[in-house]
Amino acid sequence: MKAIQVKQVGGPEAMQMVDLPVPEPKSNEAVIKLAASGVNFIDVYYREGRYKAPVPLIPGQEGAGEVVAVGRDVTSVKNGERVAWTAALGCYAEYAAVAADRLVRIPPGVSDQQAAATMLQGMTAHYLLYDTFPLKRGDTALVHAAAGGVGLLLVQMAHEIGARIIATVSTEEKAKLARGAGADEVILYTQQDFEAETKRLTDGKGVDVVYDSVGKTTFEKGLNLLRPRGMMVLFGGSSGAVPPFDPIILTQKGSLYLTRPSLGNYIATREELVSRSGAVFGMIAAGKLKLRIEHTYPLAEAQRAHRDLEGRKTTGKLLLIP
């Protein structure tokens, strides 16, 4: 089968197309023929070695397709079923072997591409808003990278909840998208200091929560913008990892909460995985969540996909089609 492989961590050129045997399922696994795999910033972190995994590795943590083989002990899925998953690595390929207890069935009303586009990012937006900091009607949230993959979903869901959303983006085009998704205020951080502007927009009171996937360049200002006892939800680091900091700063800035969540800990049990993916699929099927899948690339063009993502040229979801 064709697959994208990283033999040595590095830039986008580290990803090479190779021919590998189609995997055989272990007793607890199923093999899926991928219809689409989702591209996520976390793929970049593995490719460049910021997150560690043994090489050679096949990047990609999100996929959807049809079950073509099941292991001896698998009873939860059958050949021919449409399934989706987000799991450790291996999705930039034509086939993937995945632990069966990590597979969820894709319901009618949701396409393979929609499923591949939302497993990781949709469930991320969901857990952030419903569990990490349960956002309530009337809360004010600051959302960075609001036109990104997670961003657009986060803004739509937060809008549905009835929170006031202050979004930051880098271009006018992205600002339009964020507004369209339901952001109440949009700040072009490339033109304006988002700290000063958010203070102005909140009459100096600050926001209840910051959802920050950008990290290094936004963290400190985010702390300045939280109202006392507010929460910094640091769920990514696209500008770089936040370096170690003196926790007394949290006290000085208002006895703040900090959390650095990761999706795996919010779908740790099968029960939670099924419930969370079900909630996201439900929103898609009901038309409540609009997905932007503007950028689809053939599997062979994975390098270009990463360049586009890292160059911040893209909005919404990027998919690789084997």
Binding site: P244, F245, D246, P247, G254, S255, L258, R260, N265
Partner: protein, 322 residues
């Protein structure tokens, strides 16, 4: 009037008894005759310079007494009122001038000793279990320094809420006090590794919340004893400041939450302060909350009180009597 003054920061010996003028009330202040002043860990931190304030200064943030004079703008209190306070520097003295918003009325049903002990320690315990992490029946809480000033109160409150309480303490005597206060299990950390023991006591699952006023000595292990998505409430640093924290650690150890809190943010309005003190005084008056007074010193012996506090000799509140 007699007062304890710090001319240079340093060890307990820098607490010198001096004779200084009785303070005058500014427009929104009242002068209070101090009946009892509370000794707190934070006093030692101002005395030795870990926390900064210009010298010379009179230490002490807490006490109970009677109002002898009010400034022209004061509305909330009157001469003759029996009051208690926290947050007003200058309490190690016969008189202190305090902003009116710090002064809370003390009911007849409780003593000056109880009122004083209820201020910094009581307010802290109250905000910890009601707000920093709202403790629920059935949860498991790890309470460090469970026989300390704040610790004994957190244990009592947590027990009353119906939580399972695991405490840590440095001796058998202190462990016994913590057990009497309602702790279900107490780990004598000088003999046992609290990390291993907490894991054993929770069948490997970890606790829901850690209430920690110790800081440096316990931080790393705290991250290892919490369940997935558990909460670390860091409210003090009696063993020293926690070194810089890498947010990625919070993710790695289970998408943990951390708050680094201080009392001021939980008593930011007079309304909030009075709500807490009313609740505390009521609990004390009807016997639900027991304030353990470990020792009372004449004002002149303030240095000894700091030696005793830092040497962790006593369990319970230390008081100074001018």
């Amino acid at each position: 009037m007699k007062a304890i003054r710090v001319e240079h920061i340093g060890g307990p010996e820098v607490l010198q008894l001096v004779d200084v003028p009785i303070p005058q009330a500014k427009a929104a202040e009242a002068v209070v005759k101090v009946n009892v002043a509370g000794v707190n860990s934070i006093d030692t931190q101002f005395r030795d310079g870990r926390l900064r304030t210009p010298v010379p200064f009179i230490p002490g943030h807490e006490g109970a007494g009677v109002i002898t004079a009010v400034g022209p703008q004061v509305k909330a209190v009157r001469g003759g009122d029996r009051v208690a306070w926290s947050g007003t520097l200058g309490s190690y003295a016969e008189y202190v001038a305090a902003p009116e918003e710090h002064l809370v009325p003390v009911p007849h049903s409780i003593t000056d000793d109880q009122a004083t002990a209820a201020m910094v320690h009581g307010l802290t315990a109250h905000y910890l279990v009601n707000d920093a992490h709202k403790l629920k029946a059935g949860e498991t809480a790890l309470v460090h320094a469970a026989a300390g000033g704040v610790g004994l109160l957190v244990v009592q409150m947590a027990h009353a809420i119906g939580a399972r309480v695991i405490g840590t303490a440095s001796s058998d005597e202190k462990a016994q006090l913590a057990r009497e206060a309602g702790a279900d299990a107490v780990i004598i950390f000088t003999r046992q590794d609290f990390e291993a023991e907490v894991k054993r006591l929770t069948a490997g699952k970890g606790v829901d919340v850690v209430y920690d006023g110790v800081g440096k000595a316990t931080f790393e292990k705290n991250l290892n004893v919490m369940r997935l998505r558990g909460m670390l409430v860091l409210y003090g640093m009696s063993s020293g400041a926690v070194p810089p924290v890498d947010p990625a650690k919070l993710s790695e150890k289970g998408s943990l939450y951390m708050a680094r809190t201080t009392l001021a943010h939980f008593t930011a309005t007079r309304e909030e302060l009075l709500a807490r003190t009313s609740a505390l005084f009521a609990m004390i008056a009807d016997g639900r909350l027991h304030m353990r007074i470990a020792k009372k010193y004449p004002l002149a012996d303030a240095a000894q009180s700091h030696r005793d506090l830092e040497g962790r000799h006593f369990a319970g509140k230390l008081l100074l009597v001018p």
